[in-house]
Symmetry: C2
Subunit: 202 residues, 2 copies
């Protein structure tokens, strides 16, 4: 907690005397936000600081906050360098095919292209149908994200939800994908290890 204060993730409270500092609800809320980003979103302290700085800025335009938040998040996960041009182009074409209006600075390009690169290096070339399905899913999710944002009850917290939603939504879809995968697997390959109790205990 004092660590977060020091790191600049939480604004310092109001001094009450030279050794007392007052904290209010905004501090509690902020710490919760920080912990959500770090623990569930898996962000580093540095990335969290970046993200929060956009929240704290007076620029409240939705588009601008989105852009800043994505930049702060984008580079976080991967290492250094950029994705291959070929992969980037393929993602670009995919975006165009889905009618997405995007800017080249969007770190999503790099994140997606890196993933594509990684698929290639291990010898799997994703088909167009595969990528299309992913892109359709992304559209569905993004629409839900924006709907959640615009129907927010407390307008002053929209920026906060946007930032957190970007991070936590990744975790949410990852979890749900795991569940859906299990279901699809079960549907394609009806259980054949159910009756035999090969492993009785572990």
């Amino acid at each position: 907690m004092k660590y977060y204060l020091r790191a600049g993730l939480v604004h310092s409270g109001e001094r009450v005397g030279s050794n007392q500092t007052a904290y209010d609800d905004s501090h509690v809320q902020r710490v919760r936000l920080v912990r959500a980003l770090i623990e569930t979103g898996g962000l580093s302290i540095a990335a969290t600081k970046q993200v929060l700085s956009t929240l704290d800025s007076d620029e409240t335009s939705l588009a601008h906050t989105f852009e800043a938040a994505q930049h702060a998040l984008g580079v976080g996960g991967a290492s250094s360098g950029s994705a291959e041009p070929g992969a980037l182009r393929r993602i670009s074409e995919l975006a165009t095919a889905h009618g997405w209006k995007t800017t080249v600075e969007n770190p999503g390009f790099d994140v997606a292209a890196r993933a594509l690169d990684a698929f290639s290096t291990i010898g799997f070339a994703p088909s167009d149908e595969f990528l299309d399905a992913y892109a359709s899913a992304a559209t569905t999710i993004a629409r839900a994200d924006l709907r959640a944002l615009t129907t927010r009850d407390r307008p002053e917290l929209v920026a906060e939800l946007m930032v957190v939603g970007t991070v936590l939504g990744d975790a949410l879809i990852a979890g749900l994908r795991r569940l859906a995968q299990e279901n699809e697997t079960a549907e394609l390959f009806p259980v054949h290890t159910t009756i035999h109790d090969e492993k009785d205990a572990k």
Copy 2:
């Protein structure tokens, strides 16, 4: 490289003399796989080792490999402990509503429930529509995943693709989601910061 050997991520090559070791294509492939998991997937060494051990096991059933891979991956991102029972129940209901046949051991439950928890702690209660959209998207993705798996040209590499696909697919959907978000934002809030060049340089 020697580090990965030491860590047990790569099988040691055939000794040729007491100071020479021969490596072949399988080693190259393995290293590529390891780097894809670590760099793009963001896995830790320990998690990667877990994942690879399932690949190396002789159990080749699709369902079993999926389960093992998901377990190895599931706990990786988040910290310790479990999600709140309420959030877990909500995810459970969501899965039921979407007709998913799943097992409670699926770490996806915990991952999704944690994300839900995090949304709650920052004061945002996801609506049913929001979760439904995410679940639908998850279904779309999972179907594409399984299709890619079953139409694989080299059957002996299905397990590998499954494991890597679980990890890299997360990154792919995260990137595409960012792109789709930007597009949705642009559609909802047509540009109004284009003409004014408020910030000429930085």
